[in-house]
Each structure stands twice: as C-alpha cells, then as structure tokens.
Symmetry: C2
Subunit: 413 residues, 2 copies
C-alpha cells in the first residue's frame, strides 16, 4: 500500500470524501436547484462515471427533466494514485468558468455549483458532444472549430488583460490565480522541463532514440526553452485556460465548448494559442491522407488569422478602457496605435510558436501523450509520423518562423 493519499494536502479534508455513483446521487439531492434541473427523484437519475482524463473524477447525471456534469478532484493523480496532489484544482476551474462565462457565455458549459468542502464542481452536461480530438481524428472539420477557438482565445485574453481592464481590476484576479501553483507546477515540469532533459517520466518509441538525444543536447533548443520558462512564469498578460488542447474542447455540430479550466493562470497569451496550435500539428502528423493534412494546415492558417483579426478588432474599438489602452483611444495617434499593436501581436506570435513546439515535443516524448497516433498499425509507422511532428517542433525552436506563412510553408512540404 502507498502512504495516506491525504498526506500533504493543505486543505480541510474533514468533509471531503471521494464520490461514488451513489455518493453523486446523495450529493445532488441536497441541492434544490439541481434536483429541479434533473427532475424526478434521485432514484430515477442515471449516473455514469466517464473520467477519461488524468486527474479528476467526472460523472454525467441524467434525470427526467435534464442533466448535469459533476467533477471532483482526487487527492492524487487519477491515473497514478501514488502521485499525491492537493484538492484545490476544482476551485480554480470553478473560478475560471465563472469569469469566462462573463466574457463568452456560449462557449463554456453553464456553471451550476461549486462545493468547497467536497471540491466538487457541477456544470451543464454537454450531451452528445465529443472532444475536438475525436471529431478531427474521425475526419471531421478542423477549420470552423479553429475559427471559433481563435475568437474565444482573443476575447477571453483581451477582456481579462490590462488592455481592457484597469490594474485595480486585473490585480485581484492575477493574485488569486497565482495561487494555482499545483497545476502551474505540472505544466512547468511536464511541458517546459522534463522533455528537455533525461527524466524518468519521459518515454517514447525506441525508433525516436536518436531524435530525442539530439533534441536534448541542442543548445539552441535548450536556450529557447529556458526563455519559454521565463515567459510562462513571469508574463501575466491575461487569464489563460492553461491546458487548451483538443481534449479540452467539445463539439456538437457547430456548437463548440471549452471545458476543463483547472490549469488556469495569468500568463502569456501565446501560451493558450500555442497549445491549441500544437494539437493541430499533432493531428496533422497523424492524419491519414495528404488532403487531410492540407485541411489541417488550413485550420492552422485560419486560427492565427482569426485570432489576430478578433484581437485587433477589440483593441480598435472606441473605448476599451484598460490601462494599456489609454493612448490607443487618442485618435490623434493612429500610426502609433498600429505600431503598438504590431509590437504586441509579434510577441504573442513568437510565444505561440515557442509554446506550440514545447507542447508538441512533450506529447510525443513526455509523461502524458496523445491518442492521435493510436490508429496507426505498426510502431515504425507511428514513429515516422511522430518524427515529422518532433522535427517540425524542434525546428520551430531552432529557427523561429517570422510569419504565419512561414509556419504553414514548413507544414506544406
């Protein structure tokens, strides 16, 4: 047996217990609004555990009138009970959900309840949605969702940033999310550290041995990563989702929702952009045909173009009101405003490219990998595709592309 899973937890765990399907029923029955939403008696509710992520328990509950999704943190990593972890991550997810709902209510599940004793978050159940990863993996459209996510990132970033808000409004949020150290640590270690050195959590196909050795000994790569580490920890431009891969996005037709904001933090806007971009690149590398690859490259082009357009449109609007926009409202200096915007977006672009590279790499050689390559029959096929992604990513770090066209040109080879 491993040691007490609650050991080291800095929270009052007096009332905490891990939910089971019957525990979910009892929990929900205590909240009138949820009972009304579900309808009928608790005995009539259908409770399914669907946890498929690494960290938490997730239940979907259906009653005669409606449904809810129940998410609870565990005192350890779900897929590794020996890896202990504080419980407060649902609190940050709940806070993220409520803030983002004020900006993009149609792009997130409706927030219903957060219980700080049980570390339980209850939200709208997204019935008949699938993750974007599944949709794209099954040949679905990648372009329209990328357009939607681009606008989502632009809007949530802009409206939580110093561009749209006074420092008196930003700082309390920045201060709050700075406490999300458990999951910030995970990102720092798993995305920006471990993959770039020998570490027991790394693993990869043996066919990639040489690529990995090269990568981990390339000073240009390591210098770029050191810089990304600084950007990640010390560039709080906006409230980020923090884990915006295609498994954190659910789609049903043209309805696109972002879930799982437990990694949220104030950080560089290019981090969210970069994670999204990385998973498009992974889908590109795993795609079954040339036209399918081309389709995903289109999605990549659209993503940045749309992000840029949406972000600039918000910044251009008459009175954004934030501290970093005051001068912009002076219509006396239109050319200055243009220069400021280019400077800002150039830096978001270069962050995006760098973080995308790190994310691609860690999803191929790090602890938590992606399922995109699973459909391939042989390891040598898999390794070949993964090498495509790995080489592309390493080259982003070795020689940063200067324009979005350069990014897609490198993929259209």
């Amino acid at each position: 047996m491993s040691s007490d899973p609650m050991a080291g937890n800095r929270f009052v765990v007096q009332y905490y217990e891990t939910l089971t399907t019957s525990g979910v029923r009892l929990f929900l029955a205590r909240h009138d609004a949820l009972v009304v939403r579900l309808g009928g008696e608790s005995g009539q509710w259908d409770v399914q555990e669907v946890s498929d992520g690494n960290l938490n328990l997730v239940f979907l509950v259906h009653g005669p009138a409606g449904s809810v999704c129940v998410k609870q943190s565990l005192p350890h990593v779900r897929v590794d009970p020996n890896w202990q972890m504080p419980l407060d991550r649902t609190e940050f997810e709940a806070a993220w959900l409520r803030r983002v709902a004020q900006i993009e209510p149609e792009r997130v599940p409706v927030f219903l309840l957060f219980d700080s004793d049980m570390f339980v978050l209850v939200m709208e159940c997204l019935d008949n949605f699938v993750t974007l990863r599944q949709a794209v993996g099954n040949g679905g459209d990648a372009v329209e969702p990328s357009r939607v996510i681009a606008e989502f990132v632009a809007r949530t970033a802009f409206f939580s940033s110093f561009l749209a808000r006074k420092l008196e409004d930003v700082m309390p949020d920045l201060s709050f999310f700075a406490k999300n150290t458990t999951l910030t640590r995970i990102t720092f270690d798993l995305v920006l550290s471990d993959p770039f050195r020998p570490h027991c959590r790394n693993h990869w196909l043996k066919e990639l041995d040489r690529d990995v050795a090269e990568l981990q000994n390339d000073e240009a790569v390591l210098l770029a990563v050191a810089y990304l580490q600084q950007r990640f920890l010390a560039s709080p431009q906006a409230l980020l989702h923090g884990d915006l891969h295609s498994g954190s996005i659910m789609v049903r037709g043209d309805d696109v929702r972002v879930i799982d904001g437990e990694f949220s933090l104030y950080g560089p806007i290019g981090f969210d952009c970069g994670l999204y971009l990385a998973h498009l690149v992974l889908a590109w590398a795993a795609a079954p045909s040339a036209p399918r690859r081309a389709h995903i490259v289109d999605a990549i082009d659209i993503f940045w173009a749309e992000f840029r357009k949406a972000f600039l449109a918000l910044w251009q609007a008459e009175v954004p009101g934030g501290d970093l926009c005051s001068r912009a409202t002076f219509s006396v200096y239109p050319s200055l405003l243009r220069l400021e915007q280019e400077q800002y977006l150039d830096s978001v672009f270069s962050d995006m490219v760098g973080f995308a590279a790190a994310e691609i790499i860690r999803r191929i050689i790090g602890y938590a990998q992606v399922t995109d390559f699973d459909w391939l029959q042989t390891t040598s096929e898999k390794a070949e595709r993964q090498r495509d992604a790995l080489v592309f990513a390493a080259n982003l770090l070795r020689k940063a592309p200067q324009s979005p066209e350069e990014v897609s040109a490198r993929l259209r080879i």
Copy 2:
C-alpha cells in the same frame, strides 16, 4: 472643507487615528519591547515629526536607552489632503522590510513592529544618517553608495526571483504584493503615463515648453513608453523596492540603508535599477562642476558593472535552487548557461535604460519633482540643466543604447 478623508477607504478604520507627538508616546508605551528599547518613562522620550515625503507621517523618537522611527499612513496624500488614499501602504512596506531583512539585513532599518489597526510601522531609527540625495548634493561620494546599492538590488532581486526560488515559494509573495494596487497605480500614472501627455498634474519651467511639446508628440518616445507600461505591469521577475530614488536611501559614512519600501511589487528588475540610475542622472545634470559631473558618470558606470557582477555571481553559484536555474546547475552546458545569462541581463539592461528615462522625465515635468536643481540661482540656469537631463532621457527612448559604455559616452560629452 474637503469631504470626509476616510471616504472610500476599504479598511476597518475603527481603531485608526492619525498620530500626534503625544499619540506616538501613548502608542509606543503600550508595547513592552519598544519601551525597553527606548528606556525610561514615556514622558522622557523626545518625539520629533520629520515627515518630509509626499505620503506619510514619520516620527523619530529618542529615549534614554535608544531610539525608534514611527511611520504611519494617512488616509490621503500628506502634501495634498484632497487626494484620498487607502491606508494599507504601510502594510506593504512592513512586508517588504521583513522579506528584504532576510536577504540584506544590514541594508535596511531593523523591523520592530507593525500595527494593522493603526497602520503604523515601527523600525530602527537611523540616527545621524542623511539621504543619499542630500549627501551627493553636498558634494559627497556617489561611487561607493552606488556599488552598495548595485549589490543590494542584485541580491534582493535574485533571491526573490524564480532564479533562486521554486514557483511554490515565489507565487504567494507575488500574489500578496499584487494587492499593492494603490501605489502601483501612482507609479503607473505619475511615472509612466501623465508626463507623456497633457495632464493637469504636470508642471515645468516655461523655458521647457518646446522640449515638452516635442517629447509628448514624438511617436518613438510614446511607443517606447507603451512598451515600458507593459513591462511594468506584466513582468513580475522579482520583488522590487518600487521607489528606489536617492531619497529612499540613507547614508552615514559607509553605512548605506534602503528605506520606504511602500511601493514594493513584483516587477521587472530593471525598474529598480532604472530608478536609481535616473537619480544619478538628475544629480549629474544639477552638478556644480565638470569634475563633479565626471564623478557621477563614474558612479553610473560602477552601478551597472557591479549589479551585473553581483547578479551573475549569485546565478553562477553551485545550487541556486530556483525553477529558472535548474538547467544552469548542469555543469554539462556551461556555454548555454552563459547565453541564458546574457539574454536575461540584456533585457534587464534595456528595461533599466527605459525606466530611467521615464523617471528622469517625470521628475522634471511631472507631479513630484526633485530638489537637486534648487541650489541654482536663476530659472534659466535651472531650465538649462533640466533640459540636459530631459534631452538625454528622451534620446534613451528614441534610440536605446546597446551597452553601458554607450550610456556613459552620452553623458561624457
């Protein structure tokens, strides 16, 4: 009469009252440790009000056995009772003092007490010290204090940064100091905004009218300032003093102390460096003779050289232990470490230069000006000297110097 000075104060002001000399006596008498330190009876204590800053009340108290300094926030700006202000700034000063005392105990007054009801900070009284501004203005040495302050900034910055500490240790402090919004607002407005646009708080000698108009309409200057605003708000590299001018430094012989950390925040290290540099430049512009000017340029050279040396020495040390240093400890990559360090220090240097420029400008045309030029007899003499500083500063923003040698070359003309 102005409105209620407590209006808008977000703190419990139930127990708060503004101290008078007799109030100071009663306050101190309630604290045994302070009574012991002062010695004798409270009636024997000499209490002098010495407030000469813009914001707070300061009393020096002497008893038969020892002395203390008592600092209290007012619910308004001391020199402008109509400008209301929350009381919590002493709390941040107390927090700064305690953190810095762990790193540089010999460079700050000893922390004695903080009373959160009265917003009173009690610390060691620096008997027979004068401010560095006075010392240098009176022809005293500028070189040795600059060496000391360079090391002070290097050490406090390094040890509070992600270079020396794990993110789990930095984030709680970052989170706490992010709440110092009142004084962060003051800096943002008075240093980085108002002077660069027409604003009623600005004022200057009429001889400088043309220079000010030019400055406020120069797009290169305004673009540089927009970037500095971003750096200031969203680059929490280390715990800064936040107001490190020569009036926040006290000297007695070779004993140098830093006081008045109420503006403390997590920010770009170059901000503290830049403020210090700015006041050397102001002293240079106001200096009575060519050899005196040369002496101050020497101090400027020494300041950056010493800062750089001290900072690198800390980073080079075997096990700094911070998240941004992990790779550095790998002795396998000495050339990588060197590149990382250059990249980091280049950015501190360019921040320093930019913030120095903004600070010089605001001290000549903004709300709170410096006394350095007061000894000059005629306004035209003053204006000429101030123009020297103003032009130097504007040129720093127009065309950033690429090396410390370039900075001093521009001053040695």
